[in-house]
């Protein structure tokens, strides 16, 4: 038995509070669960991420590392308390909003606390001081530079500037305006509710039992006896409790991942059972006591082992462990390579990359009026609904999926994770059931970026024109399909890069291994193929004696030229504009590097450039989004927006598009959703499709609504709308017409006017050679980076990025910059430090992601080459932003040192070994 805990009294945001913490209870837990201070976020429970930062007697601490008893008699401040009264924090909040320093918002409370502590001591900090002070908080979305800018600016904000800001008219949020995020205030104030922030008090807690082995069979002991012997446990779940199909997946032909493994676990961390109990019991739950016997079996953990003769098959119907492949063939690559004046060839490797969003998967489920409702972080609510209907064997109408705010996704939260455990638990117990993955559990069990093994040959003629391209890529797809087929399809389509290549062959294979599933991660395999292609382009330029940037410009795809799929865009191809925009920075950087290198022996600087392209939306598959809107009798405009905003900004972008097309201010639009009961299918947040596809649906919906309004009073197309007190005033050159909304009959949802429209990008299937129309639009990008290499220690420090992105039309330029910065940070991580190794890097101190000190200043150049299909000409951007980063860094290392790195991450150890081999002392 446990002693009755002593009471602990402390000041929380100025109020005296009292709790009875358990022995060893973390202050973060007491604050969240006993004092409802859920603005304190938990990302790792190990002091690695800093999301839980609070001020203890004014000093920033990780609340997850402080026993609640240590708070006795002291002052605890959280962001919720600051938002209310602290003048420093108020200036900081405004500055965070103005700079869009919050994207998903999960790290924002921690950042705000660390920054407030700094500003109280150093009222006008410089960037370096901000970096030192905020270094304990990790962010995966922003690339940190906007956070640094926001804190520096908050320090410099004086009363006069504040007054000027107050006096300015509020921008309407028309397309093209860099307005703050429409949902930003809640993120900065800490009131945004993420996956673990909504569960009702006392909800039962789920713990999943997972395989400790990459491959093992198992047998359960006496589960009933176990349950009986542990009174605080309520029930158990195994495969036997799955009423429907014990399988899920994102591609109908490849639904292969069990909710619970039935006889054999195929990767470390695979679920085999779940235990549900009262929160107090589950806080002490020891999975080691669960009655299960494991029998480890020989595992294939690498692609080579999986392809070996007699290798065990993960799925009996997938011979040689090959799940699927993809091909694009155009012209005759072999013949072209034979006649090319110069051919370069190399092999490239990359490892697993972890998404490392700061919010681990979390949510709760409840049965209400005979329906099951799942509140969890997700990128794809309608796909969740489809999967849950199959797993639960329930009609879709019996299930409601309500996405919470998402603390970063980057592709992994497209797949379901804990939703089945929550729903099954809620149905079986009849009570609310909650779960939050531990950091280790999240890393062990959710999807990763595919490790790649790529062999590439590229030819060119002496005039610099490309001549032949032969690409073969093997992708380690892990135990289950997830988005592996998509990667296998997308890579051959994109591996050329945005260049004109007449003779082209690209083949890919997705190969199963006993590892976590590889799935969707910002770019779907294209960042890996871009490393190979863009690195070899520098090798070609070298051999040709050409400037690396001019070589790319010479070969850049232009309007009217066929892609490697034979698709011809007559408009909108913006890669040439991106590359030429880098010319001034390129010339300056080359001169600066030469000057620096002349005076330094151990440290060398180099500049690298790389390009990328990315097709927006599904590859040759239907990909519709639907948006609904209505106007109430009182004049309120409501936008039903089912596209999930995972921090990238779709709530803002879609609202701006909708408001512009309707002809109102974005501030007049009330937003609902996403919620499968209340919003039509906005599709999944992936493939850089929300601005393009859902944006178009929003535009069409607004246009339909506007058309209805104008028709009612026979007004001109350019009439101005003004909504007030139940009246729409429509003004054109003929005068003003009033539509009295109160005279119109409201429908079941209370709307007197409504519209609902869809958009599906026009694509056509690819034939056996990958020829066709895979995407209605591509976006284009080119990055330039200057790095400094410490040749003695193998350290690479990026000093400056210049990133040119063709976005067609920047709906919100600040959101564009935010995406660019965040993508560069992830690309930098992939290039220099990130490699997930199952069993060894399952936390955020062994798995390294960039910190606030690792991201150099970034200049973003926005290119607007309008696209005929995009809303107002806009193109997608989410994935383009990291594709060129890693190869640009590798090319800069090559320029600095002459050393060619063909494996990422380029850790100091690996680079130093290569430098030594190249003769560096």
């Amino acid at each position: 038995m446990y002693d009755t805990p002593d009471t602990v009294d402390f000041h929380l945001n100025g109020q005296m509070v009292q709790v009875r913490p358990e022995v060893g209870e973390r202050l973060s837990h007491s604050l969240r669960e006993r004092l409802a201070a859920r603005e304190v976020k938990v990302g790792c429970n190990a002091g690695d991420c800093g999301a839980c930062t609070v001020l203890l007697d004014g000093q920033p601490v990780c609340a997850c590392l402080v026993p609640t008893q240590r708070a006795t008699g002291r002052r605890v401040e959280t962001v919720a308390g600051l938002a209310a009264r602290d003048p420093v924090a108020l200036a900081l909040s405004e500055s965070f909003q103005d700079h869009q320093a919050a994207q998903c918002g999960i790290c924002t409370p921690g950042m705000m606390m660390a920054a407030t502590a700094l500003l109280r001591v150093v009222p006008q900090p410089d960037a370096a001081q901000v970096q030192d002070a905020l270094a304990g908080v990790l962010c995966r979305c922003t690339g940190y530079r906007k956070i640094i800018d926001a804190v520096v600016a908050a320090g410099q904000r004086d009363q006069a500037a504040h007054a000027v800001r107050e006096g300015k008219p509020i921008p309407t949020g028309a397309v093209g305006q860099a307005i703050p995020r429409v949902d930003g205030k809640a993120k900065v104030a800490g009131t945004e509710a993420f996956g673990d922030d909504l569960a009702p008090a006392g909800a039962l807690v789920v713990h999943v039992i997972r395989s400790p082995h990459p491959r093992a069979s198992f047998t359960f002991g006496d589960l009933n006896a176990y349950l009986a012997a542990h009174p605080g446990l309520v029930t158990l779940l195994t495969a036997a409790d799955v009423p429907g199909r014990n399988a899920f997946g994102v591609i109908p032909a490849y639904v292969d991942q069990p909710v619970f493994a039935e006889t054999e676990a195929r990767h470390r961390g695979e679920a085999v059972a779940a235990v549900i109990g009262h929160p107090d019991t589950m806080a002490r739950f020891d999975p080691a006591l669960f009655p299960i016997q494991w029998q480890p079996l020989p595992a294939v953990e690498t692609v080579a082992a999986a392809l070996a003769d007699n290798a065990p098959l993960l799925h009996p119907n997938r011979a040689q462990n090959i799940m699927c492949g993809g091909v694009v063939r155009r012209g005759d690559a072999d013949a072209a390579l034979s006649r090319a004046d110069i051919v370069v060839e190399a092999h490239f490797d990359s490892g697993f990359v972890e998404h490392a969003y700061i919010e681990p998967e979390a949510g709760y489920a409840v049965v209400k009026d005979g329906r099951v409702e799942v509140y969890a972080c997700t990128q794809a609510p309608m796909m969740d609904l489809d999967s849950m209907a199959e797993i639960l064997a329930l009609p879709r109408a019996q299930i409601r999926i309500v996405p919470t705010a998402v603390g970063g996704g980057f592709g992994s939260k497209l797949d379901i994770s804990l939703q089945p455990y929550l729903a099954l638990g809620a149905i079986k117990t009849g009570k609310p059931v909650r779960m939050a993955y531990s950091r280790t559990e999240s890393m062990q069990s959710t999807t990763k970026r595919h490790p790649s093994s790529i062999h590439l040959r590229i030819g060119a003629m002496n005039d610099g024109k490309l001549c032949g391209f032969d690409f073969q890529g093997d992708f380690n797809t892990g135990a289950y399909a997830s988005w592996g087929p998509t990667v296998a399809n997308r890579v051959p389509v994109h591996a050329s890069g945005p260049y004109l290549i007449a003779d082209y062959l690209a083949r890919s294979r997705a190969i199963h291994t006993h590892n976590p599933s590889s799935g969707a991660f910002r770019g779907f395999g294209v960042p890996q193929s871009a490393i190979a292609q863009e690195s070899l382009f520098d090798a070609l330029a070298d051999r040709l004696g050409m400037d690396a940037l001019e070589f790319r410009i010479l070969n850049a795809l232009q309007n009217g030229q066929p892609t490697v799929c034979g698709q011809v865009f007559t408009q909108g191809v913006g890669i040439g504009a991106c590359l030429t925009a880098l010319r001034p920075a390129w010339a300056a950087a080359k001169a600066d590097c030469a000057a620096f290198n002349a005076g330094n022996t151990t440290h060398k600087r180099g500049v690298g450039v790389a390009a990328g392209w990315y097709g927006c939306g599904n590859t040759s598959l239907p990909n519709p989004s639907t948006i609904k809107a209505g106007i109430r009798a009182d004049g309120t405009i409501v936008l039903h927006q089912g596209a999930t905003d995972i921090g990238q900004g779709s709530n803002t972008v879609i609202s701006q598009i909708f408001a512009t097309a309707l002809g109102v201010s974005v501030h007049d639009v009330q937003r609902i959703g996403p919620d499968t009961d209340h919003t039509p299918d906005g599709g999944k947040t992936s493939a850089s499709r929300q601005t393009f596809v859902s944006g178009n649906a929003a535009k069409r919906t607004a246009e339909a609504l506007r058309h209805d309004i104008l028709t009612r009073c026979n007004a001109a197309g350019d009439a101005a709308l003004h909504l007030h007190n139940g009246v729409i005033s429509v003004t054109d050159t003929a005068g003003t017409h009033d539509i009295d909304l109160t005279t119109l009959a409201p429908d079941a949802e209370g709307y007197v006017l409504r519209a609902e429209e869809s958009y599906d990008p026009p694509t056509r299937p690819l034939d056996a050679n990958g020829q066709g129309v895979p995407y209605a639009q591509f976006g284009y990008a080119a990055h330039l980076v200057v790095v400094e290499v410490d040749t003695e220690l193998g350290l690479v420090r990026p000093l400056h990025f210049t990133a040119a992105h063709d976005v067609g039309r920047a709906i919100n330029p600040l959101l564009v910059e935010g995406q660019v910065h965040g993508g560069i940070a992830q690309g930098l991580g992939m290039a220099l430090m990130e490699e997930y190794i199952p069993g060894r890097t399952e936390n955020l101190h062994d798995y390294l992601i960039p910190t606030i000190g690792d991201i150099s200043p970034i200049d973003t150049i926005i290119i607007e080459e309008p696209d005929a299909h995009g809303p107002y000409g806009a193109k997608g951007l989410g994935e383009h932003v990291l594709i060129p980063t890693a190869p640009a860094i590798l090319n800069a290392i090559r320029h600095a040192t002459g050393v060619v790195m063909t494996r990422v991450p380029v850790t100091p150890s690996r680079l130093r070994a290569a430098l030594k081999e190249a003769g560096y002392v």
Binding site: R70, A135, E792, H845, R912
Partner: protein, 280 residues
């Protein structure tokens, strides 16, 4: 099971005499090791024990109480010999960790990558252990006995770190990691150097993350003793045979060996340069 923030040594020893008791100071290592599950142990919190927090100057040297935070080191007015320890204090984890984590806890955790150990080795630090039987004092090198192992006996508490006075010397520290902040060291080097008229007259060098326990490098020290600071020789790999670096996910053994040599050269240049500036 109970949580006791002991107010006296007698109270602490009474708790410690019970079964299944863990000692907690800053908690920055204790919580991650405890995992996500609530502990089944009683906790003895040593932070409020008299004399446990703070840095005091005595005739014999400096006393760093066992509950002294890294942030306390940063805030303290200490002689240049402590520059290496001060550099550690700004690089351990993050500000959040520095505000909570203790110097003594870093030693008790006995990680091969404990940043605090190399500079304290160069300061000839000793560890004061207190039990109902009295106190005993061990050289730091004898206190940490292996990976995650110390000479701390059941019923005993670390009460302080003792640093003898070192006159005229300056310390330095360099940490090598895979990212800018919040990083476990691939290798780190601390040094303490005294220069007289441009010649090294006293030198201590210690290296961490390259052996089960961080250690001094007598051969390196001997090689540099008496050298003119204007022309320091490069490190000869033969001087590093006391190190037994391993290959792990952070770096290869070979890399660590080479990097340590460069870090030693750099930290000595850094310290001697600062000394030269002082002389000017």
């Amino acid at each position: 099971m109970a949580y006791t923030a002991a107010k006296s040594l007698d109270e602490a020893f009474a708790v410690l005499a019970g079964s299944n008791v863990a000692i907690i100071a800053g908690g920055t290592d204790w919580f991650p090791q405890a995992g996500d599950r609530l502990t089944a142990k009683s906790l003895l919190d040593v932070n409020d024990l008299p004399g446990f927090r703070g840095i005091t100057r005595t005739d014999a040297g400096w006393r760093i109480g066992a509950a002294t935070r890294w942030a306390d080191i940063t805030a303290a007015d200490l002689p240049p010999a402590f520059d290496g320890l001060k550099a550690v204090a700004l690089q351990v984890g993050s500000i959040q960790i520095q505000n909570t984590g203790t110097v003594a806890g870093n030693l008790c955790n006995a990680s091969p990558a404990a940043d605090g150990v190399p500079p304290l080795l160069t300061l000839n630090a000793r560890v004061e252990l207190t039990s109902p039987a009295g106190t005993r004092i061990l050289p730091l090198a004898d206190f940490i006995t292996g990976v995650r192992r110390t000479a701390l006996q059941p019923g005993e508490l670390v009460s302080a770190i003792l640093v003898p006075h070192t006159t005229g010397a300056r310390g330095g520290f360099l940490k090598l990691g895979g990212r800018a902040y919040l990083v476990i060291s691939i290798a780190m080097v601390a040094a303490l150097v005294r220069c007289d008229a441009g010649v090294i007259t006293d030198i201590r060098v210690a290296v961490g993350s390259c052996s089960p326990v961080a250690c001094r490098l007598p051969r390196v020290e001997a090689a540099y003793l008496g050298q003119p600071t204007a022309q320091l020789p490069p490190v000869d790999p033969d001087w590093l045979t006391d190190l037994t670096p391993i290959s792990d996910l952070r770096a290869s053994a070979d890399y660590r060996r080479g990097a340590v040599a460069r870090l030693i050269e750099r930290v000595l240049r850094q310290i001697t340069h600062a000394e030269d500036q002082r002389d000017v």
